[in-house]
């Protein structure tokens, strides 16, 4: 049977990071292809290239035997490719009906005039496919998240009537916010759609992928590492393919792991709750200890980290720093209390791209570097030179713009910004190695270990379980905003990846 879509040697780079590396996949007519992999494995990137949200650097797509280009999602839709986005693509202040037909010619809006009754009737027809009773004239922003997901799905299903050939429908983690009943509806739709469409289904939940898929591709580090028939494999096999077995002990610098002071606590979190993000989270970190937080998207761990730094308001619970209860109304309070936060979005929240290395490095500790209220350039330059040397930042001088450095060196400067804070007690690392190459990653590990050895308490979020297991002294697992697991002694009795994943999803 000739494939509906062949993906040949598809490659996508972001700067120096290779998000997709020569990926070949084949999607046959009328089948459901499952796509699994850890965060950063390249699944979402692949879907975005297929849907035209981004363009590949090299490789090609062959649909129904002829090569195609997908310029943008509208263009994709014309060629029968639709995507159900994870973060939705609905315009919030337009109605459900408008969103379903947005940018698509239809009899309800012919000639630029909206015949609302007609449009709503057409939308209702589409909505009935999912058995949903959402009103077509409701504004999307008033719908619940799950309802919006249904509208998103309906919008893609509306492609059916528009194209004659087989459709390709991409689902990026469609189930993460749906109830069990809604998931059943979705699966029923997918099975119905199979008669005239092929489906690519991305999910964290192995059971779902196994239940709905005919074939499964496993991705890791931007590459396709395995292809399995869903009927011929089980969850355990998929887990190990996803995680990989290539963990080298010294990669995480286990030798640098220092025993930490268990008698004191640097950070205690008790019953911490933030509306809509996480609730009743309790754990503590000793000086010099690295506590990893595991969880998938929607687990609330990112929000937790931001709350620890004062960037997100909390509704209940306590935070104690060295035994003293604190409240943080802003990141500024976090910084003053000695909490540092290395954001996942380095370019956006980590660095001031247009300013020098030096200015970036001292941005958080500027008040500590003044004499009589004036900047002391001598002290600043000493401090900056010291950290550049200690962290091995490769740069012609501290005066060059940070944006001119490589990603790894930028990340070192951002890390140094926090390490240079004289009263740093707690450092929250939100995906500190995201987008870095292997060498840069090892460097970051080294400095994280060194900071811990200095007595800084570290909270770590990571893209891969490997990294989390390799660096942490203790691991807290979160799911749906709650703590679901706790492994107090990782080096001696490490949990298996499978154990962690089961607690995560």
């Amino acid at each position: 049977m000739s494939p509906l879509l062949s993906i040949e040697g598809l490659t996508k780079r972001y700067g120096r990071t290779v998000a997709l590396d020569e990926v070949d996949l084949e999607i046959r007519p009328n089948e459901v292809v499952g796509l699994i992999g850890q965060n950063g494995a390249g699944k979402s990137t692949l879907l975005k290239l297929l849907a035209g949200v981004q363009q590949p650097d090299s490789g090609r797509l062959v649909m129904r035997g002829s090569p195609i280009k997908v310029r943008n999602p509208a263009h994709a839709a014309e060629q029968g490719i639709g995507m159900v986005f994870q973060e939705q693509s609905l315009v919030p202040n337009l109605t459900v009906a408008e969103n379903i037909f947005l940018g698509r010619p239809n009899p309800g809006t012919a000639g630029g005039v909206y015949k609302w009754r007609r449009l709503n009737a057409l939308a209702r027809e589409q909505l009935e496919k999912t058995g949903s009773e959402i009103s077509p004239s409701a504004l999307v922003q008033r719908l619940s998240f799950a309802d919006r997901q249904m509208v998103e799905l309906t919008k893609v299903l509306a492609l059916e009537e528009r194209t004659d050939g087989d459709l390709l429908i991409l689902f990026d983690e469609p189930t993460s916010v749906l109830s069990a009943a809604e998931i059943e509806t979705l699966f029923a739709q997918i099975r119905r759609l199979k008669r005239r469409a092929s489906i690519v289904f991305v999910s964290h939940r192995m059971d779902e992928v196994l239940a709905i898929s005919d074939r499964i591709y496993v991705m890791r580090d931007g590459r396709r590492v395995a292809e399995r028939d869903a009927a011929a494999c089980d969850e355990n096999e998929l887990y190990s393919l996803m995680v990989g077995e290539n963990r080298a002990e010294d990669y995480f610098l286990d030798a640098d792991r220092k025993p930490y002071d268990r008698s004191a606590t640097a950070l205690e979190v008790e019953g911490l709750t933030a509306e809509g993000s996480f609730s009743d989270v309790t754990f503590s970190v000793c000086p010099g200890q690295i506590v990893g937080v595991a969880g998938v998207i929607g687990s609330g761990r990112e929000a937790l980290c931001r709350a620890l730094f004062g960037a997100l308001p909390t509704a209940a619970g306590r935070v104690r720093l060295r035994g003293e209860e604190v409240t943080m109304a802003s990141p500024r309070d976090g910084v003053r209390l000695g909490v540092g936060y290395l954001p996942a979005e380095r370019k956006h929240e980590g660095m001031v791209a247009e300013r020098s290395i030096s200015e970036n490095l001292v941005l958080a500790s500027t008040p500590a570097l003044t004499r009589a209220g004036l900047l002391s350039w001598a002290r600043e330059s000493d401090l900056v030179e010291g950290w550049i040397e200690r962290l091995g930042v490769k740069a012609p001088s501290a005066r060059v713009k940070i944006s001119q450095l490589s990603g790894g060196n930028q990340q070192k400067v951002v890390l140094a910004k926090w390490l240079a804070l004289p009263h740093l007690r707690v450092l929250v690392l939100d995906h500190p190695t995201r987008g870095l190459d292997l060498k840069a990653k090892t460097d970051v590990y080294k400095h994280v270990r060194a900071a811990a050895a200095r007595g800084v308490a570290i909270v770590l979020l990571s893209d891969t379980l490997e990294e989390l297991l390799g660096l942490s002294d203790e691991i807290v697992v979160m799911r749906d905003g709650r703590v679901t697991g706790h492994f107090p002694d990782v080096p001696d009795t490490p949990p298996s990846s499978e154990e962690l994943v089961k607690l995560m999803v």
Binding site: V53, R332, G373
Partner: protein
């Protein structure tokens, strides 16, 4: 919602940083053009008239520069200057130097309040300052009953403006001193660092604990203060206060800042560049008369100059969705 990648944004990251030399070259070329037409332009008398004309714009533009470095705008400066001119005349007539100091303090406080409202309530600076513009013009019309009020003879607290210092009009020297002080503040205070950090990447600045409310309040307070100072210079020159005294100065002041090479998108530029911008704007104003261009076209030229200057200096990569 944050923006999605749109491929055409790639090419948009190029921005011409005209800050280095281009504005200075432009200034020299303009002066050259004017001199070619009228060699007497470089004489003492005409340079003095440039300095006199430039002084209030200089003060306003110096005050505006930190606000624009932050990526904000203050549309109320000229109206505040007019209000100050009205207050100055009556307070200086009554209380001399104390009255003048009182006006400066009041304007500084008014600016600070605008900055606090803008940053605490998270309302765009342009709308807060537009409201303030209405408020100030209403107040100055009311306070003056929409008439010009003359300054009493020999008000030493103000009339020094018309003296000469080393042959240079004192009002202009005053502007230069204020410019130098603000320049030093930007360079040597943490505030200056924060201006640039917030102007180029506010999320990153906030995530480093930069005190955003204080930084903004200080910038707008400074704008208020220099508006009052500009009023002193204007009242000194004209000997009266009027609710419309400075209404023509908003555009030249903004033009001066952006023509000097400070980007309206924030984070790039500085008060030194503003001096070049102020001189350019003044030479254009005076040069138009010399060259014989109808002075009523001034507004057209300034409007066009602002658009062109911003087009050349703006950092489009930073404004993912331009509104």
């Amino acid at each position: 919602m944050s923006p999605v990648n749109i491929s055409r944004r790639k090419g948009a990251s190029q921005r011409l940083d005209i800050g280095g030399y281009l504005p200075a070259v432009l200034l020299v070329v303009l002066v050259g053009l004017v001199v070619a037409r009228d060699p007497a332009f470089l004489g003492v008398a005409s340079l003095r008239s440039v300095a006199v004309q430039a002084a209030p714009i200089l003060l306003l533009a110096v005050g505006l520069t930190p606000v624009i470095l932050l990526g904000g705008i203050d549309l109320s400066v000229a109206a505040l200057t007019s209000l100050c001119s009205v207050l100055l005349v009556s307070w200086a007539n009554q209380a001399g130097i104390t009255g003048v100091a009182g006006v400066v303090a009041l304007a500084t406080a008014a600016g600070a309040v605008v900055g606090v409202v803008h940053s605490v309530a998270q309302v765009p600076s342009f709308i807060v300052t537009l409201g303030a513009l209405g408020l100030y013009s209403g107040l100055s019309l009311e306070a003056s009953d929409a008439t010009n009020t003359p300054l009493a003879e020999g008000s030493p607290a103000i009339s020094w403006v018309n003296d000469y210092f080393a042959g240079i009009p004192a009002g202009f020297v005053f502007g230069l001193i204020v410019l130098a002080i603000v320049g030093l503040m930007v360079r040597f205070l943490p505030w200056g660092r924060y201006l640039y950090a917030m102007g180029s990447a506010e999320p990153a600045a906030l995530m480093s604990g930069v005190p955003k409310i204080r930084v903004r309040a200080a910038a707008f307070a400074l704008t208020g203060m220099t508006s009052a100072m500009a009023a002193i210079v204007l009242v000194g020159r004209t000997s009266f206060g009027s609710p419309t005294l400075a209404s023509g100065l908003l555009l030249p002041a903004i033009a001066a800042v952006v023509v000097g090479g400070t980007a309206i998108s924030g984070g790039v530029g500085g008060v030194g560049r503003t001096l070049v911008g102020v001189l350019t704007v003044t030479v254009v104003q005076i040069g138009m008369v010399v060259i014989g261009i109808d002075p009523v076209l001034q507004n057209v030229i300034f409007g066009a100059v602002i658009i062109v200057a911003v087009a050349l200096t703006i950092d489009r990569a930073k404004l993912s969705v331009i509104k």
